[in-house]
Amino acid sequence: MNTMRCSMVFLALAILFCAAVVWNIRTGTVKISFGEIVRIIFTADKSDLPANNILWKIRLPRLLTAAVLGGALSLSGFLLQTFFRNPIAGPFVLGISSGAKMFLAIVTIALAGVFPTMPLSVTVIAAFLGSMLSMLLVLAFSGKIRNMSMLLVIGIMISYICSAVTDFLINFAKEADIVNLTHWSMGSFSGAGWTNLKAATLIVLPTLAAVFFLSKPISAYALGEGYAQSLGVNIRLFRVLLIAASSILSACVTAFAGPISFVGIAVPHICRILLRTQKPILMIPASFLCGAVFCMFCDLIARTMFSPTELSIGTVTSAVGAPIVIWLMISRRIKREE
């Protein structure tokens, strides 16, 4: 029965994935019909027609980027929730995006004289480094503090400190110098091209594969560190690998798409409820797939709802994700107290 349920969930996610792909390509100021999509993709028609260009150069890379990064974000959330044994742990709660933003602000202002307009590669590298640095800081504290909730609080505090530094820098910066920063911090999949997609995929997919190999110790970790250790898990190594994987994933997303909130918290919860299991071997692919579908639909909303004005992706994921999280927390509570 459980196997049946899981198969159904994965089937449904696969169907939703396809639906999201088709819907995303069709919708926009220029409509592309379903038949045309199939024709263009399967004949690999790259001739210079408007529909072809829109599909190959704009919509397809954008939606694939949303899929890869959405999956990465949700998987990162799953790993952090496992590690912190706390349902609200997520990459952005722990200050990753604020760290990235602070670092980006410093780099932007420092290099304002060097580059007239900030190259994308520099933005990406700066945001990535910032994310990793703030995560390392949280990790440094985790060695000293055994209580995971306290660690979560420290993460949140670090995030406030980073925001304060960023705001301070912005106060003294010239408007023109920080255009790029403002743009980045809106968070968006727009402008995603094949180069970015390739780079992101090269980071995300190997990490996903590595996480699969961690699924066995993650399952042992479900009963707590004490039991995991008594089963032969090398706890210290495991902690480092888990945090490294989730940091790389969320840093990658932050670097390419800016801060995107709530995907990391909401999606793993949705998966848990759908699958009714905690087994990492199922949760890892489900989180990834569900995150991809979630972000593709959110991106669809972001670019079409108030078209031609585009919303930032974070606006949509928060608006959709936050109520889900609240609902989940309340229903969990009720279940506990029953």
Binding site: S215, S219, Y227, Q229, G232, T277
Partner: protein, 368 residues
Amino acid sequence: MKSEWYFSTDALCVGYNGRALISEITLGLRRGEILTLIGPNGSGKSTILKTISRHLAKIAGTVVLDGRDLHALSGRELATRMAVVLTERVRPELMSCGELVASGRYPYTNSFGRLTERDREIVRGALRRVHAEELYDRDFSEISDGQRQRILLARAIAQEPEIIVLDEPTSFLDIKHKIELLEILRDMAKKQRITVVMSLHEIDLASKISDKIVCVKGDRIAAYGTPDEIFTDERIRALYDIEHGAYNAALGCVELSRPAGEAEVFVIGGAGYGIPFCRALQKAAVPFAAGILWENDVEFPVASALAAEVVSVPAFAPAGEEAVARAKAIIGRVGRVIDCGCPVGEFNRVNGELLRCAGAKRTTEAGV
């Protein structure tokens, strides 16, 4: 040379953050023996157990498991030999009992944790062992504390260990489940020769299940030996600093402290008839005297723990003039007697005499 011990420690020193809490712990266990750590709260029982299970780094000394240094074993190797049941409350979400028990197979499964048919058979066997087969599909968070403890034990059994370390496995359990759990452990120890090291709060149960006892108190272990050597009234009183109340080693029972003051009533019982009266008087905080009791009477330990005065006679000896005179003197002083209804026969006819003599003052306030 292989020592006679399967598991032993030599001058082991345990503590936190490099600071020694208890040192020079030296003990040895053969396969299938049960060692129980007893001692007051906070005495360091858990610290010792955590060091033995390698959850805490040792400070000094050695631990030897089957002729090899425990701290030189790889994590996986130790996992196939030693299983643990910890005190920390686990609350995994969305995990069935079957899945939880299956996690004990971790050291044996492939790199993705796939369970083979043999693994499943072992999991089912472990559940059968703790009489919890019907819980296989139940969610772990929805079962009772007693059931949870059994499932955690099944998890340890599924790990197929040679030694199992349990930290207060009986806390949170009612008496039925305590007995059940300890019986499972004794079975494992005696039938499968699995060595058991655990801590218990219930000294009465500890004396009944253990082959060896360690009393933990202070910076050394206070005593180590077989239950017969350890369970003397004085040693237990000293271990737990019992100033009021009593512990009876022979019966393994605990009495609360006796009511303070001069006896106000004389209890004439025997053969256990007087026990409910003694307890009732203790609860009502009425000091009392009791007699005449033979020292081999089941009532004697209770009365001597609770009564202000006991008129007693050595086992199997006739009650002499002196005892009768003492009893009469007390009755004369307190003026009230409780007849517990013990039949008067050939050997305790002196009690009948006491009752007759107290006849005038006799009260029958049975409920006190």
